[in-house]
Subunit: 216 residues, 2 copies
């Protein structure tokens, strides 16, 4: 197909596709004449993945280029290829400096992961941005007078584990490794607001159940 | 206590406290001399609540003033007073215009809430910002080729319901209605990054369990 058809079928403007070509996120098409090139289904699939990383995941283009290299690296197993994409997604910044709350929060996070037996989290512990996000969130809770003990966090972690099973079940519905990576990125990011809004709706429901008519 | 002690015990600068006084978020202290006023424990508690709303919840000052009025309105029951605070928290914007995906997403959200029997969500449906956030997130999924059926969302909603039970259990550990409102706001907001980071850590764990060593 020509660029115009690629644009139509991918839903991306030709200018955006040319930008991705220039940045090396999309391999060049097969040159037909001096001014036209032919693109195939592989280009269409790649554009969906690029869109998942850059437009949905808000990943910087330079990071996306590295991630795409990892996703294509057949010397890596499927877990690493999925992980390269999902774990490179931007996170809120980790703790800036070691406030007293941060040290305590780090200890809590480590103990929580140890109790859960979440090896992956421990293995990459000090450098994982997701781990940094957790430590930061726990430090913020403590700073505002809501210290969270490991015991309070375990039910939350157990539910997060069940969410992850549901997430990976969805990912596995896709056939090819490339589609699975794309789905893992898109669903990780796009289901976050679904989860947060459902939690708030459920809180309203639970508050109604407990407190309605209670004017204490 | 004097302003300086109120500042020290609340952890807020005197400039911030004076700003809250001017904006009507904090009632004036008892005037002692022309230049000094005396503040009590009620001021200290109120400052914690204001901080939860404005600094943690990123609520605009004008909204916080309305919320504080509702929280103090003894003609409202406890559910409404909690809700006034939590549901006034800012959300990502709802759907801007009725794209075809938005209409379908709204139908899915309505059907989901009906199946769950979540009355509160249905009751305030079209105006609730949380409902708008859900519709928006479902429309974004569909736009990127990941349409979500009610059946896919039910397990997610069930887990969100369990999270809400854990949240309200924590809120009920606080004694007074004012402390509960404060905790509801702070925990709703501060536990969101905890939840999202635990979900990503759990996904890494689950991906490792399923795919490690699988280079397909």
């Amino acid at each position: 197909m020509r660029l115009s058809e690629l644009s139509e079928r991918s839903g991306l403007s030709t200018a955006t596709i040319k930008y991705y070509l220039r940045e090396g996120l999309l391999p060049p098409g097969e040159r037909i004449t001096a001014t036209t090139a032919e693109y195939g289904d592989a280009h269409l699939r790649r554009l969906r993945l690029v869109r998942a990383l850059v437009q949905v995941g808000k990943m910087p283009v330079a990071t996306a280029r590295e991630v795409l290299a990892a996703v294509e690296d057949e010397s890596l197993d499927h877990h690493m290829r999925l992980g390269a994409a999902v774990w490179a997604l931007p996170h809120p910044p980790g703790p800036a400096k070691e406030a007293p709350e941060t040290t305590a929060a780090r200890r809590t996070a480590d103990e929580l992961l140890r109790r859960l037996g979440w090896q992956y989290g421990l293995e990459v512990g000090p450098v994982s941005p997701t781990y940094g996000m957790l430590v930061n969130a726990l430090a913020a809770l403590a700073r505002l007078g809501y210290p969270h003990a490991v015991e309070n966090l375990l039910p939350y972690a157990r539910l997060a584990g069940e969410l992850a099973v549901a997430d990976l079940d969805l990912v596995e519905e896709y056939e090819t490794p490339a589609e699975q990576v794309e789905a893992a990125v898109a669903l990780t990011v796009l289901l976050e607001p679904v989860l947060l809004s459902l939690r708030r709706l459920a809180e309203a429901e639970e508050s109604h159940r407990r407190f309605r008519g209670d004017s204490s």
